[in-house]
Subunit: 165 residues, 2 copies
């Protein structure tokens, strides 16, 4: 009996333009980065990540800054997925993928997040516009909700980084 | 002529108990960590950090998750400094240093933060209680305000990490 090959959903970060694929959190070209990858899971978005042993807060628990990073990139990735789908596209299509940046990040730490287990962040779009997406996220560790996040993501301006941006 | 030695202010993280000094952001014992260090600067608090080249968002700019991490540890460190001073102590005193954890973290990215320059985060206590401190922070790159943060820091519970916390 042949083992049925599981088709992994495609992550939006795999399709960011090369020039925008260096992010420490989610850039596929950043060799020292964390390589967060965000996919569709039904109508919601999903980013899974296993923190490294050094991503410690106090012994046994995950560092909040790492969690904030995870929610940050998960949210901009979710915004990209959502706007791309709204335009009729899925990751792997030829149309260029929109790239979002974070305008604001809010993280509520409900309880300590254990270290050493796979973390799952699930996102929903609270609002979806052509230039601004609000993403609400929930982080689960071993199925237990430990952190919530809300990110306002804005479409990366053409002049990102110039003095007027 | 002898060069006058500059006395560096003492960072609160240098005095956290060993068991709470493993944080990826600010733990002095975490060999792979970032080693954020927070000091008094007059009536405010200050954390300086030079991001590593890999802490990139898009070329030329600093990763938002790194900035969130910096604001996170700066704020819990500021809360420790502030409560310790309120109790009549300064870093280096023998009295045990209070250790805070983050209940919520809010970061507003006003404009892109350049990569390759020393970042300065300056904190003020919006409120200061025995169990909860609210810290407002401003991040400057080359003297330009690029990010603001607000953190609710709570005194680490005795039972941190137990099922009831």
């Amino acid at each position: 009996m042949e083992e049925k090959e599981k088709v992994e959903p495609k992550a939006i970060q795999d399709y960011y333009p090369d020039s925008f694929a260096w992010c420490y959190g989610c850039g596929r070209l950043n060799e020292k980065g964390l390589h967060f990858r965000t996919v569709w899971d039904g109508e919601g978005t999903l980013t899974r990540f296993l923190p490294r042993p050094e991503h410690i807060a106090v012994p046994g628990f995950t560092y909040g800054g790492l969690i904030a990073s995870l929610i940050d990139c998960h949210s901009t990735g979710s915004a990209s997925l959502a706007l791309y789908r709204a335009r009729g596209h899925e990751p792997g299509d030829e149309a260029p993928v929109p790239r979002f940046v974070t305008a604001s990040l809010k993280v509520d730490f409900l309880k300590p997040t254990p270290l050493g287990v796979l973390l799952e962040v699930r996102g929903e779009m609270k609002s979806l516009g052509e230039r601004k997406v609000v993403v609400e996220s929930k982080l689960y560790a071993d199925g237990i909700l430990t952190v919530t996040g809300e990110v306002v993501a804005v479409l990366m301006p053409e002049n990102f980084g110039s003095s007027s941006s």
